[in-house]
């Protein structure tokens, strides 16, 4: 009788921690923590037939940025270094030549864009441009828009664009829409 009464010995849980550590280390090694980040862009839809009648744009509303195969910048027909690009782009977008943008604080230069809704940045690169340079230029141009949007958001709501509510964001996007067009690359060398 006594034999039957004997309880089954408890399983030793002391090694549980070791097993769990082993699993933990396995997952640490096989997984990646890096969150994917990058510059979001939207490509234009593909058109089979050539555009018969391309929309007519005034030259003063286009901000041309050319990057050659030596990673040099030509902005509005003048040679520019990368750290000047952001300021130039901001001046161009915020210019407000016709005065229709009441939130802009531009210089109102008659030779530059009429208002942010019409201002288009045109980026053209060479096939030999390095990807690094291309991303830097893209980054600067996006940064120009971000800075303008942030400045407006701070003036109106006292916070950055990213922290604004959906309505405020929509409004600011209407004031400063992002027009960044990319032309087919050249092969100038």
């Amino acid at each position: 009788m006594a034999r039957n009464k004997r309880a089954i010995p408890e399983i030793n849980a002391g090694s549980m921690a070791d097993i769990a550590f082993l699993l933990l280390i396995f997952f640490l090694v096989t997984t990646t923590m890096d969150v994917d980040k990058g510059i979001n862009r939207k490509l234009p839809a593909w058109d089979e037939e050539e555009q018969v009648d391309p929309p007519k744009l005034k030259q003063k509303n286009i901000f041309t940025v050319l990057v050659n195969s030596n990673d040099q910048l030509l902005v509005e027909d003048e040679y520019l270094s990368l750290d000047q690009l952001r300021r130039k782009a901001k001046e161009f977008i915020d210019n407000n030549g016709d005065g229709s943008c009441e939130y802009c604080r531009g210089l109102r230069n008659p030779e530059s864009s009429v208002n942010p809704g019409k201002a288009i940045i045109s980026l053209q690169n060479d096939r030999g441009t390095s990807y690094d340079m291309y991303i830097r230029v893209q980054n600067e141009l996006v940064a120009a828009y971000t800075e303008l949007r942030d400045e407006l958001a701070n003036r109106m709501y006292g916070k950055n664009f990213e922290d604004c509510g959906a309505d405020a964001k929509k409004f600011i996007k209407e004031v400063y829409p992002q027009f960044l067009s990319e032309a087919e690359p050249l092969n100038l060398g």
Binding site: L82, R86, N125
Partner: protein
């Protein structure tokens, strides 16, 4: 008196380690939930460019990755040194990008297909020619939402230097 003597003899009980497995399991689950399994074996060089205007990619299940770069040295004898596209685990031609993206899109639930993003993970040393060709392929495949994968730069000056 007997009472007092007994009390003095009592030692500090050892810290219980019974909850250690629970703590470790908690950590384990945290890592399992927050991380993603390394999906592909990178066969191309991949140093991402730096940028400041970056956005996080949400919803990993809707993201398709394209790797572009010069083949790593151990593959150079097979495929050469020119930058190549890597789709999943193998080298591919640029013309394979379109069908690959379409196939990936088919796998996504229909309602969410327009939200699909193609993340271009290109090495910063590649030239724009190959990137442009890929972009044309993506346009033809109607995969218009793209993301140029880059690493966050500390400040804008970080971007201007060594240019």
């Amino acid at each position: 008196m007997g009472h007092l003597v007994k009390k003095k003899k009592k030692e500090l009980p050892p810290v219980s380690t019974a909850s250690l497995p629970d703590i470790v399991f908690m950590l384990l689950f945290f890592f399992m939930v927050t991380t993603v399994m390394r999906e592909v074996d990178l066969k191309v060089e991949n140093t991402k460019p730096k940028a400041t205007e970056i956005q996080k990619l949400e919803r990993k299940s809707l993201v398709t990755y394209l790797y572009v770069g010069a083949p790593k040295s151990k593959y150079q004898s097979l495929v050469g040194t020119e930058p190549r596209v890597q789709l999943n685990d193998k080298f591919a031609n640029i013309s394979d990008v379109g069908p690959f993206v379409i196939e990936e899109r088919e796998a996504i639930n229909e309602a969410e297909r327009p939200l699909m993003t193609v993340s271009i993970k290109a090495d910063k040393r590649v030239k724009m020619g190959i990137i442009t060709d890929i972009k044309q392929e993506l346009r033809k495949a109607q995969a218009l939402k793209i993301n140029y994968s880059s690493t966050p730069a500390a400040s804008a000056d970080d971007i201007y230097k060594d240019y």
